[in-house]
Amino acid sequence: MTSPPGSAPVVPKESGTTKTRRPLRRDGIWPWLFVAPLVGGVAVFYLWPIIQTAWFSLTEFGVFGGTTFTGLSNYQELFADPDLYKSIGNTLLYTVIVLLNIPIALVVASLLNTPGLRFAAVYRVLYFLPYVAMPTAVAMVWRLIFNGDFGLLNYVLGWFGIDGPYWISTPGAAVVAVSIVGLWSSVGFSVIVLGAALKQIPPELYEAAELDGASRWRRFRAITVPLVTPSIAFLSVVTVIAGFQLFDLLFAVLGNSYSNPTIYDSMSLVYMFYEAGFVTNEKGLAAAVAMVVLVLVALATLVQFRLQKKWVHVD
C-alpha cells in the first residue's frame, strides 16, 4: 500500500551498514510478542483461508462438506466456461467506469477547497452521504430511478425526447446502470481523501504562481494535480480492488437470478463465485473462481505499483 499523503517513508533508505541491521535475536522475544496479535489475526483470518481456498479449488466439495481431491478439473471446467470471460469483462468495465470517480472527485474537492466557500461542511456531508449509506438501501432507491416505465431517469430523459431503455432488464445497459451507482457512491470517499491532500499544499505555492500570472487552470494543472498524485495513486489501487469485489450492488440492483435473468449477462466474478457456491452447489468451482479473483487483484495491484513510479510525484 502506498504511504498516506504527507507521511515520510518509515524504512531508512540505503542503510547497508551492519550497525543499523542488527540481528533480530538480540532484541529478544519482545518485538514478536508485540506483533503477535496482528500476525495471529492475519494468519487465522487471511492466510489460512487462502490456503484452504486453494485446497478446496482442487477438490469436489460436497454440499454440506466432505471433499474429494479432483486435481485441476475445477480449473479446466472454469476456463472452458464462457461465463468466466463474460464476468471478467463485466468486472473490468465496472472497474473502469468507477475509476472515473477520481477525476470527478478531484474537481469537486478543488471546488470545496476554494477559500471563503460558504457551507463547505454541508457540501462535504452531502458528497459523503452515499458512501456511508447501506449499499442495499442505495440499490433499492436506484432500482426505482432506473425503472423503465415509472422511473425518474427515463421521465427526465423524456423531457429531451429521449426514449430511455429498461435499464436494469436490458443486457448491456444493466452493467452500465450498476456502474453508475458504484461511481456515484464512491465519489464521496475520494472527495474526502483528495480534500485532505489539498489541504496539505502550501498556499504560498499558489500565491507565487498567481504573482507569476498563472491562470486558475494552469495552477490546477501545475500545482494541484502533481501534489495530490500520491493520494490519486492510493485511490486508484483501492478502487480497483473494490471494483474486483463487485457483488452487493449488482445483487441488490439487479435482484437475484430468480427474479431477473439479466444478471447472467451482467454478472461479476464475485457473483459467479456466489452462484457456484450457493445456488448450484459447486463449492470447489466457487473456490477456483475465488482463486482467479485473488490472482487478478494481485496482478492489477502489482501493475499499478510498477506504473506509479512513473507518475506519482514524491518529494
Binding site: 483461508p49 487462502i50 452447489n281 485473488l294
Partner: protein, 433 residues
C-alpha cells in the same frame, strides 16, 4: 483433526474480499444418520429445553407466537426462540448452518430444497412421532406429505399449503367494459380477455394479463395443463410438444400485447402491476392474499380457477416444519413439531388468514377471511393439484430455467429451440446427480 480450526474452516475468496463464508471443512454427520428410525415418547410436562426455530416469513410470526403460547400451556419449560431470515437469504444461511452442524432445532423447509437436506442426513425423520400417534400423515393432502418423504421415510408434514389461481381486479374489467369470464374458462378465453383489456385501456397503461418468470405461479401450471411434465423419472420433460405448448402460452400472451413486455415485467413484477391497479388478471398463489390487505384494490378482488388447457391443473406446495438431525433437544423439538402441525395450532394459523393451514378441516377459516373474493377456489383446486416438481438438487436446474426460458418468453428465440436446449442442459445436470 479435533481442534476447532480444522473442523470449522473459514473459506474466503481473496485478501480483503468482502464475501466470507463459514463452512465445514469436513462433514460432521454421516449421511446415513437420518435414515434410522428414531424412537419417540411424548415427554413429561416438566421437560426443560431451549429450542431455536428458523423461518422466513415475518407476517406469520404473530400467528406462530400464538401457537407457541398455547403449546407452552402444556410445556411451560420449553422455550422457543424464533429467528426470521428473509427468503432470499434463508437457504444460503441454512446451508452454512447445515455444513457446520449448527442447524436450528426446528426450521421451515420447502419442496425444492428438501431432498438435498434429507438425502444428506441433516433432517430427523418423524417415524417415531408417527408410531407414537402424535403425527398422522393421513390428515394432510397426499401430494404434500409425499413431498416431505424420501425413500419411504417421512421427515415432516406440511404446516400449510398453497395452490394457484387467477386473481382478478373487477374494477379493471368494468373500466374496460369486458365481461368477467366464468369459472370453467379455457386458455383461449384467457388470452382473448387479456388482449381485449389491454387494447381497451392501452392509453392508461393498463394490461389484461401478465407473464412471469416464476414456474410455480405461471409456466409449471400451463405445462401440466397441456399434459406435459417438468421432470419425470429423473429426466427433463421440457422436450415434449406438450411442455412447449405450456411455454408458448406465455410467449403468445406477451406477443399479443395482452401482457406487458418481458423487459417491463422484469422492472416491475406482475404482482406490483396488479397491486397498483394496472393489471386485470394475475396468476398468483393463495399466499398473495396477505399482500392485498390494506391496498386500494382490496375491495374489487375476486378469484377464478386457472383457465383449462387440455386438462385442469394447478401446482400445489406447502411448507413443513422439520427437526434437525443433530438437534440436542430432539424430543422437545419433535413435540413442538407435532403440535404445530396438529388441529389446534392449524386452526389458529388459519384464523390469522395469511396462509391455508394444511390440516384437514381447518382450511375453511382461510376462505372466510376475505368473504367477497371467492377464495374457496384455492381449496377446491386441491382436487386436481399437481405437486411442485422437485428433485435431489432442484436449484441446479431451476437456474437453467431462469437462464434459458426468458428468450422464449420475450420472443427472442423460437420456443421449440429454447425448450430443446433447456431439456438437454437439464438432463446433463440431472445425470451428474
Amino acid at each position: 483433526m479435533n481442534n476447532n480450526l480444522s473442523r470449522r474452516g473459514i473459506l474466503t475468496g481473496a485478501l480483503g474480499l468482502g464475501v466470507m463464508i463459514t463452512t465445514a471443512a469436513c462433514g460432521g454427520g454421516g449421511s446415513d444418520a437420518g435414515a434410522e428410525a428414531a424412537d419417540y415418547t411424548e415427554p413429561a410436562a416438566d421437560i426443560t429445553a431451549d429450542l431455536t426455530f428458523s423461518l422466513w416469513d415475518q407476517t406469520q410470526v404473530e400467528a406462530l407466537q400464538q401457537n407457541i403460547a398455547s403449546f407452552q400451556e402444556k410445556y411451560p419449560n420449553i422455550k422457543v426462540t424464533i429467528s426470521v431470515t428473509p427468503f432470499a437469504q434463508y437457504f444460503t444461511k441454512l446451508q452454512t448452518q447445515a455444513s457446520s452442524d449448527t442447524l436450528p432445532d426446528l426450521f421451515w423447509m420447502n419442496g425444492p430444497n428438501f431432498q438435498l437436506y434429507a438425502g444428506n442426513g441433516k433432517i430427523a425423520p418423524i417415524t417415531g412421532p408417527i408410531e407414537a400417534g402424535v403425527i398422522d400423515p393421513g390428515k394432510y393432502p397426499e401430494a404434500l406429505t409425499t413431498l416431505y418423504s424420501l425413500d419411504d421415510v417421512q421427515y415432516g408434514v406440511p404446516k400449510d399449503m398453497d395452490t394457484i389461481g387467477v386473481w382478478v381486479n373487477k374494477a379493471v374489467f368494468e373500466k374496460a367494459k369486458v365481461d368477467l369470464p366464468g369459472e370453467d374458462w379455457t386458455w383461449q378465453e384467457f388470452q382473448s380477455t387479456a388482449e381485449a383489456i389491454s387494447k381497451a385501456l392501452s392509453k392508461d397503461g393498463i394490461y389484461g394479463g401478465a407473464g412471469g418468470m416464476d414456474g410455480q405461479t405461471t409456466y409449471y401450471n400451463t405445462i401440466f395443463e397441456s399434459g406435459g411434465e417438468v421432470i419425470a423419472d429423473g429426466k427433463s420433460g421440457y422436450a415434449s410438444a406438450q411442455s412447449q405448448q405450456g411455454i408458448s402460452f406465455w410467449s403468445d400472451l406477451i406477443a399479443s400485447g395482452g401482457s406487458p413486455s418481458y423487459a417491463q415485467l422484469l422492472d416491475t413484477t406482475a404482482d406490483q402491476w396488479f397491486v397498483s391497479g394496472k393489471l386485470g388478471m394475475y396468476w398468483g398463489g393463495s399466499w398473495f392474499r396477505s399482500a392485498l390487505s390494506g391496498t386500494d384494490i382490496e375491495d374489487s378482488i375476486t378469484v377464478l380457477p386457472l383457465p383449462r388447457g387440455a386438462r385442469q391443473a394447478t401446482v400445489i406446495h406447502g411448507v413443513a416444519n422439520l427437526v434437525a438431525a443433530n438437534s440436542r433437544n430432539k424430543q422437545a423439538a419433535h413435540t413442538l413439531q407435532a403440535y404445530l402441525s396438529g388441529a389446534q395450532a392449524q386452526q389458529q394459523l388459519g384464523e390469522a388468514g395469511s396462509v391455508i393451514p394444511a390440516y384437514d378441516g381447518t382450511q375453511r377459516t382461510f376462505a372466510e377471511s376475505m368473504p367477497d373474493a371467492n377464495l374457496q377456489v384455492f381449496l377446491d383446486a386441491v382436487d386436481y393439484a399437481v405437486p411442485l416438481p422437485v428433485s435431489a438438487d432442484t436449484a441446479a436446474w431451476n437456474t437453467l430455467e431462469t437462464q434459458l426460458l426468458p428468450d422464449a418468453f420475450s420472443g427472442a428465440k423460437p420456443v421449440a429451440e429454447v425448450t430443446a436446449d433447456l431439456a438437454s442442459q437439464m438432463d446433463a445436470v440431472l445425470a451428474k446427480g
